[in-house]
Symmetry: C2
Subunit: 645 residues, 2 copies
């Protein structure tokens, strides 16, 4: 890349794992990551399996696994790598995620030495392919209610895995229909002592020749709306016996006397601790979806910068479509959001590395609050990033017209694939509720003992200082925040301090008021009260995540060296922030945070920023750092058969 | 159907072409309209071709063609039929539309007796399959700049069709890759006398054995993002000679002496007159997309009314997901909009029948204003309906979670197919600009001669009375309007008079202010001024269409007999209107049409209406009148393997 500004943008976006991303750009061949439109489902599945093996062969499966077994134990790098893989075929991305993230991650994180010794090497090299069998027909979101049973039989010292009802059948399980030799299977653990809630076992499902083992029924989920290269399927178990040692026993075990043992006494706490160790999956899914959105934007913006349609009165040549305000407004705010999300993704990857990827001295644990905050943020960022990807790829398709609908232009398959990212690894709406729950727990812990009467005044103070301080507190942001104080109605529209203050006011007020509403809930009317406030709850969650995104982006911006790239980035982030404010304009007006003059200025400023960014579009596209060899769309490379007269 | 309320809703939605819809429900077999997930592209194309022939064999191709050749000349019925066909496979719908609507319609409407005599029977029976070859690689929206040339050669009395540049190649043409024996080809007409702009010829492209004729190159567009059963392809012409009589000569001809003749002297006017006769395509596309959305809603609502997930505290059984407010808000406002759009679709179908389907005494023509108003409304309704379908099918997919992603549940293919409905028959953004242009032309005609100084006061009056009066003026609506006057801030949120008044104020003010902005445009700064107001222009167009939709819906509601169905319909339409107001809440606040208290009440009222409609969901689904045999999704029919514990 010859454009120094683009290079600086890329370096900034690359963040702490710049080396991993740089290596990826150099190592990768398009044939390792792309498919060909028109392959049959069967051919796609075979191609993707081959590509998984190829990627494993260059060591990409080892990133994030314990060093004792040949891994690199670099948790953050595994996320950064997943983001880069998101620029390729998303069927392949999901297969990689199932093998090395979900399946491998569960064995690594829920299992102990006995499982690691025997299986991790084979898993990292993709010689042992596996499934992560959690979802059942009856339960996808509420996995505490899984119906599969794992019953300990003291007579034989075995575990018996069973699917007792039609709705207990595992479904939508990646790797199940074709490739899985093993599976991590979740179910209710029962022993003669009682029921202990959901646990996981590691079991074989096919033999070395690929024959399904006795007692197990596997069916193919068949044609899906996307991800044709992923062999999703179902597992049903008819009293399948496996050794007691198959229990993934990091957090709970059955001892030699057949007694259940766990350091975590509370069943609920135990289950969420287990799930919490798998948080990387959510971090990765959001990052991978965001990459697909970036690639879509690169294609649509490059095409839009060459395609011409309709002449201005009196002009001979037609106008470049990206010169139309409507076209800019379709693509530039989404580009700006992609930039902002990159920084939030880098920030959460760093936190994950800190809390999950850094060994602590024996006996020490990370603070509970930090763990919860990570899980909350991962849930919310996953929801926002995947919805952003669905929405952006759709906008890109439309912006490219008929050409956008032709598969070789790389928009439609990605759009179809990314759809289900809004559902797997947690339904986005359910995840936003999880965010709200996390925030409200914190809120309750802070205010739980105070009478309602005292609350009102305190909330404002605490929310404005306490919570905000906790989530950020960096000197740069504090400076911006101070500058913004007291001049809400005067500051320039693109003043980052003012923008940050608007995001904070929105999130704080939303949380504060939803907290007040829910405090009234008693035992009898709990659900009704919660349900009538559900839109408010989701708003509080989403605006909290929006704030996390802007904070992460402004911190990264603050760290840039002064110059052209920093100034360009400032405009990009202002566009992101103003677009978010515009979407919630009604809220800001209703709550007196914008008057009607300022409110109209928000829209006018967005239009101004679009105009200002228009000449920098190629720099901004290059700055995203997408491996150029993976952008093969003829409309983006210029091979589209048209003179673009 | 045993539910009398559902039956009454259905009858109301069926509207003037209830008989056509009723016959369709009785005649149709699922095998005639559905495909099977997982068919190869080749198999889908063959299946769809067979289904086109089958549908032609029961006479459905004859609807809308002149009676002299065996047609029924019922233009409105052809639109209603297309809506019903939209409940089947959308690849088939598009093939039917290409054959009987675009290709057949062009021959019928742009050709004269010599073309009708020779071809119409074969077209109606699908024995002569054909293409509508307008779009080129370089020009999809700005079709006045097509580059294909049709040159008259007086030496041989022939026309020579040529593709002079790479970007002049016809592309995305339905029926081209496999089935078309003929094509209506658009290009610039040149004679020794000069250039006459875009005209169309009817020419053979393949012989009876299916061999491509000399001088013509046909390529397959290959894999697309949807519509796999449609054989889209390209046409390139190398000086292909066809007889002079091939010119579709309804509006212009070359006479025996080789002289160009047309009653419409202005080239621009001539071109838009030709295009205008093809307005039915836009009406149909919007209706077909709306049907796909309705079917998606039926599936998601039936599943949501049975699927359970998460128990309320203290409860044993999990909650039905449709009882969650968030789930209701995802689906009910879209259901309400589908109801409202049905009435707008019925209204435009009636207008089309009146202006295009009713022969006038010789020499008489329909008023220019009425024709323009129809074209404006068709363009806008197509944009709003197709975007609604894309958005709704996506929401339905997400609402059904992983099950929604499985192809047999009938959401994903429809979602993928309907995507391009936002592009073909006119890109939606371009169409909304067309709406704005129509409105502004009217505006200019009304105010063109007045000095700016006089304008301000007058505009309010005229816009409020003049324009509104013109577009509706029915007694029922006028009564509502009068009732609403002067009590904007007091009336109940679901008061239809108040809702109508809000829609009118929004549309009128948007148009008035955009008119003022654009009046300042001179020759030099015309494009810049227009471009900087483009978002405003699009807003004016969209809000005008929103008003048309609500007016049509309230008129139909007004005609219902008092009773339970009417009251239910009133709530549905109030939900539609309030949801639309909520989307533009910021505008209403900025312009003092809502204060912040009322603004919050809008949201609260939507939530209330969702709760009120919840127990009526099955009635509302049945009321849409979708042929039950076409809803095969296991999650909707109850065959989904789950106990829904």
């Amino acid at each position: 890349m010859n454009d120094p500004v683009a290079l600086e943008l890329r370096t900034t976006l690359d963040g702490p794992w710049a080396a991993v991303r740089g290596d990826f750009r150099e190592q990768i061949e398009p044939s390792m990551l792309l498919g060909t439109p028109g392959e049959s489902m069967q051919a796609q599945r075979e191609r993707v399996t081959d590509q998984v093996l190829q990627i494993a062969s260059i060591g990409h499966g080892r990133v994030g696994f314990p060093q004792a077994y040949g891994g690199t134990y670099d948790y953050g790098a595994s996320c950064a790598l997943f983001e880069m893989q998101g620029y390729g075929d998303l069927s392949l991305l999901v297969k990689l995620g199932v093998q090395f993230g979900l399946f491998g991650g569960a064995v690594s994180r829920l299992g102990t030495q006995r499982h690691h010794e025997e299986y991790l090497r084979g898993i990292m090299d993709a010689q042992i392919m596996g499934s992560f069998a959690m979802t059942e027909i009856g339960h996808g979101s509420n996995v505490q209610r899984l119906e599969t049973t794992i019953t300990y039989d003291p007579a034989t010292d075995e575990l018996v895995v069973n699917s007792p009802t039609p709705s207990s059948v595992k479904t939508y399980i990646g790797n199940a229909a074709k490739d899985a030799r093993m599976a991590v299977v979740f179910g209710q653990l029962l022993t003669p002592e009682g029921e202990f809630g959901v646990h996981a076992v590691l079991m074989e499902v096919r033999d070395a020749e690929g024959n399904v083992l006795p007692g197990i029924t596997i069916e193919d989920n068949g044609v899906k709306g996307g991800l044709p290269g992923v062999d999703n399927g179902t597992f049903a178990f008819a009293d399948v016996r496996i050794p007691r040692s198959a229990l993934l026993n990091k957090f709970a075990d059955i001892d030699d006397e057949g007694r259940y043992q766990s350091d975590i006494a509370n069943e609920n706490a135990r289950f969420f601790t287990m799930l919490g160790t798998l948080v990387r999956g959510r971090v990765c899914v959001g990052g991978g979806a965001a990459s697909a959105a970036k690639k879509g934007l690169a294609i649509a913006l490059r095409y839009g910068a060459r395609r011409r349609q309709f002449e201005a009165p009196g002009a001979e040549q037609e106008i470049v479509v990206l010169d139309y305000l409507a076209h800019q407004r379709k693509l530039f705010p989404r580009l700006a959001k992609s930039y902002a999300l990159s920084f939030a993704q880098n920030a959460i990857t760093e936190t994950l590395q800190e809390l999950h990827g850094t060994p602590l001295p024996d006996g020490e644990t990370h603070p509970k609050e930090a763990i919860r905050e990570l899980e909350t943020r991962a849930a919310g960022l996953k929801a926002v990033s995947t919805w952003h990807a669905v929405d952006t790829l759709q906008a890109c398709r439309e912006a490219c017209g008929g050409a956008g609908f032709i598969a070789e232009n790389q928009l439609t398959q990605a759009r179809a694939d990314v759809d289900v990212f809004a559902t797997f690894e947690g339904d986005n709406t359910v995840l936003l509720q999880l965010v709200a729950k996390g925030l409200l727990t914190e809120y309750k812990e802070m205010f739980g003992d105070l009478a309602m009467a005292e609350l009102a005044g305190l909330v404002t103070k605490q929310v404005a200082e306490g919570l905000v301080e906790r989530t950020t507190g960096r000197a740069g942001l504090q400076r911006l925040r101070d500058l913004a104080k007291g001049r809400d109605h005067e500051s320039a529209m693109d003043d980052t301090g003012w923008l940050l203050s608007m995001f904070e006011q929105r999130a704080d007020h939303a949380l504060e008021t939803v907290g007040k509403r829910l405090r009234k809930a008693g035992k009898d009317n709990g659900f009704e009260l919660f349900n009538s406030a559900q839109d408010h709850v989701l708003f509080a969650a989403r605006t909290h995540i929006d704030r996390c995104i802007l904070e992460a982006a402004l911190e990264a911006h603050d760290d840039m060296a002064d110059g052209e790239a920093k100034e360009l980035m400032r405009k990009v982030l202002a566009l992101y922030a103003l677009s978010s404010i515009e979407e919630d304009k009604a809220w800001f007006l209703e709550h007196g945070r914008l008057n009607s003059v300022r409110s109209r200025q928000v829209t006018a400023s967005i239009n101004d920023l679009c105009r200002e960014l228009r000449p920098r579009v190629h720099t901004l596209v290059d700055g995203m750092g997408i491996p150029e060899s993976l952008i093969t769309a003829p409309i983006a490379t210029g091979e589209h058969t048209t003179t673009f007269a």
